[in-house]
């Protein structure tokens, strides 16, 4: 086997894994706090891509500045989605929240395809590349991975040390008890949904700095986020980051041994097996 190719492929996958991880953290955070599987996750990722596209083309800001703007937009969008579709189905049967978030998915995709069409766009942006042994790595990938890691660390610090972060953890543990001690649970739920959406949009923006995209592109990453969240334990944000890295490595490793088209087979078989054998994931999910 060609060790050089293996190394290059693994580095490639690893770096992307961080970005996938951030998208999955958004999904798993929302599930952890309110037990809602957000089926609008993919379209939000795609909106993140277009957020960056318009920030760079219309406003002319630097792409990395644009990702921050996009993230802020994602936060507001998430709170809006929560208010419109999610608030009324908190605590309802799962079917209701799945369909409520899917209806948002349909609206975003419907309006998105009408306005933006489905022809691919890309952001003209390159920082050159660095050579590491046999691997030639675009610098944008390294920056994307670092930015993802920073986002995960920032989320961790926010959850551990800030007042609202503690509120979120309290509501996650026991919403009734949290309400009894005066935590504004509706605001906390809205904020959590906003944060989850923000991370999705942010990861979408980072992906847009790497690959061309269409409004339908998010579906792929939504499915990946499901796999990663389950791998790391649904409702466990830091598990999702590690899950992202694992999926990234799998995506780097599989093409070395099998045709690339088998990557998805491996991922989804793994996904089903994890759910069957250890539904709480590798690192423990939300306790029931």
């Amino acid at each position: 086997m060609d060790m050089g190719f293996l190394f290059a492929s693994l580095i490639d996958g690893l770096l992307l894994g961080f970005v996938f991880g951030v998208a999955a953290i958004g999904l798993t955070l929302i599930f952890g706090v309110m037990e809602v599987i957000n089926l609008a996750h993919g379209p939000v990722i795609a909106l993140g891509m277009f957020g960056l596209y318009f920030a760079t083309t219309l406003l002319g800001v630097h792409p990395y500045m644009g990702t921050l703007l996009t993230a802020a937009g994602g936060l507001l969008l998430g709170i809006l989605i929560y208010a419109i579709a999610v608030h009324r189905v908190i605590g309802a049967p799962h079917l209701s929240s799945l369909l409520a978030t899917y209806s948002i998915n349909m609206m975003i995709i419907g309006v998105g395809t009408a306005l933006l069409t489905t022809s691919p766009r890309n952001i003209e942006f390159s920082l050159g590349s660095v050579t590491l042994g046999a691997a030639t790595i675009p610098v944008t990938r390294i920056v994307a991975a670092l930015a993802s890691l920073l986002a995960a660390v920032a989320l961790y610090l926010f959850m551990q040390y800030t007042r609202w972060g503690k509120f979120i953890r309290a509501v996650t543990d026991n919403r009734d008890a949290a309400e009894l001690v005066g935590i504004p649970s509706t605001k906390v739920l809205a904020l959590s949904f906003g944060l989850g959406t923000m991370l999705a949009a942010f990861s979408g923006a980072l992906i847009a700095t790497l690959f061309p995209f269409t409004i339908l592109e998010g579906g792929k990453y939504e499915l990946k986020s499901f796999v990663i969240s389950v791998l790391g334990g649904l409702g466990n944000p830091m598990g999702a980051l590690i899950g992202g890295i694992i999926i990234g490595l799998i995506e780097g490793l599989v093409p070395v041994f099998l045709p690339t088209t088998w990557v998805l087979v491996v991922e989804f078989v793994l996904f089903v097996l994890i759910l069957l054998i250890r539904p709480t994931g590798l690192f423990g999910g939300r306790a029931h």
Binding site: V89, Y102, I104, G110
Partner: protein, 321 residues
């Protein structure tokens, strides 16, 4: 309250009305409309067995549709099997898949079950994509010589229509039979409280597995019929996740857990789609409008049309089930 025979007659009448209309007019356009409606009804009514009666949210209904389609298509196009036996094998293959995975995945509840069904569908799609006997990413196409044995393409369109009509009728009668039987009572008890049902002596895993298997058999048949008339099959057409979700929407629209609900939901949903697609103003954003309608139903009428009627007008409970 004694259940009137109308609870069976009404759903059958609705399907007969939709199915017989093109047979009377002999118009191609009516046949195509009714084909779409019957397909929606068959998918929704069969999904309702696991979703509505048993309370398990499956996003994987389309995996059975696609698998049945592939198996039947392969047998007819590559192995020269007669159409009827290939369709039957398509249904059986789907039922077998459900039976085999059912015992495992039906242990999961709520969102976890919903997620694993998405996973099964995507894993199957990705696998077929790599499975050379089924043509891999390009899929299979039908040699038109095969159609000649059935009297040419036009005759095939009518023949497959008759088949779908009969299958849809069977789905409706079976779903009535389940709802009215002790088996159905067991499923309903699982939906209401699975642990309590188990304690009361319902063999929950046996009930769930058979409900899942039955619910998978019919989309297998429908997929087999559809892709035979379609003359080609490829992975993205065979396993589109959104068809699963549309089926859920149809069940919700009409009323989950009722017999006539998914029938009305299927017809209503397709009718709405046609209306949106042919409306000059709404054509481009038909998906968004459908999404908005779905949200309104989920938020305000979660019991669906039939559930709402039964609650508001108790008199209808005798005839609507």
């Amino acid at each position: 309250m004694k259940r009137s025979l109308w609870t069976l007659i009404l759903p059958v009448l609705v399907v007969l009305a939709v199915g017989l209309y093109p047979l009377l007019t002999q118009q191609d356009v009516h046949r195509e409309t009714s084909f779409t409606l019957l397909r929606a009804v068959a998918l929704a009514a069969s999904l309702n067995i696991i979703l509505g009666f048993t309370g398990y949210v499956s996003f994987g209904h389309v995996v059975f549709y696609g698998l049945g389609g592939y198996v039947a298509f392969y047998l007819v196009a590559q192995k020269g099997w007669p159409f009827w036996s290939a369709v039957l094998m398509g249904g059986l293959a789907a039922a077998l898949l459900a039976f085999l995975i059912g015992a495992g995945i039906l242990r999961l509840r709520g969102a976890y079950f919903a997620l694993v069904t998405i996973g099964v569908n995507e894993a199957m799609k990705a696998f077929i994509y790599n499975f050379q006997p089924f043509g891999g990413p390009v899929g299979l196409t039908m040699n038109f010589a095969v159609y000649r044995a059935y009297g040419g393409p036009r005759a095939v369109l009518w023949m497959t229509y008759h088949w779908l009509f009969i299958v849809t009728l069977i789905v409706v009668v079976v779903s009535y039979w389940i709802r009215a039987s002790k088996f159905g009572l067991g499923l309903l008890s699982i939906r209401e409280d699975e642990d309590a049902a188990e304690v009361m002596g319902v063999r929950t895993s046996w009930f769930k597995t058979w409900a899942f298997t039955l619910s998978a058999f019919f989309p297998g048949l429908v997929g087999a019929i559809f892709f035979f008339r379609n003359a080609s099959i490829e992975p993205h057409d065979a396993f589109p996740l959104h068809v699963s979700i549309e089926s859920i929407v149809m069940v919700m629209l009409g009323g989950q857990g009722t017999v006539i609900g998914p029938i009305l939901g299927g017809i209503g949903y397709q009718w709405m789609r046609v209306f949106l697609l042919t409306n000059r103003l709404l054509k481009n954003i038909q998906l968004a409008v459908a999404g908005a309608l779905l949200l309104i139903i989920v938020l305000f009428i979660p019991a669906g049309l039939v559930g709402w009627l039964r609650r508001r007008l108790p008199a209808t409970r005798r005839v609507l089930l």
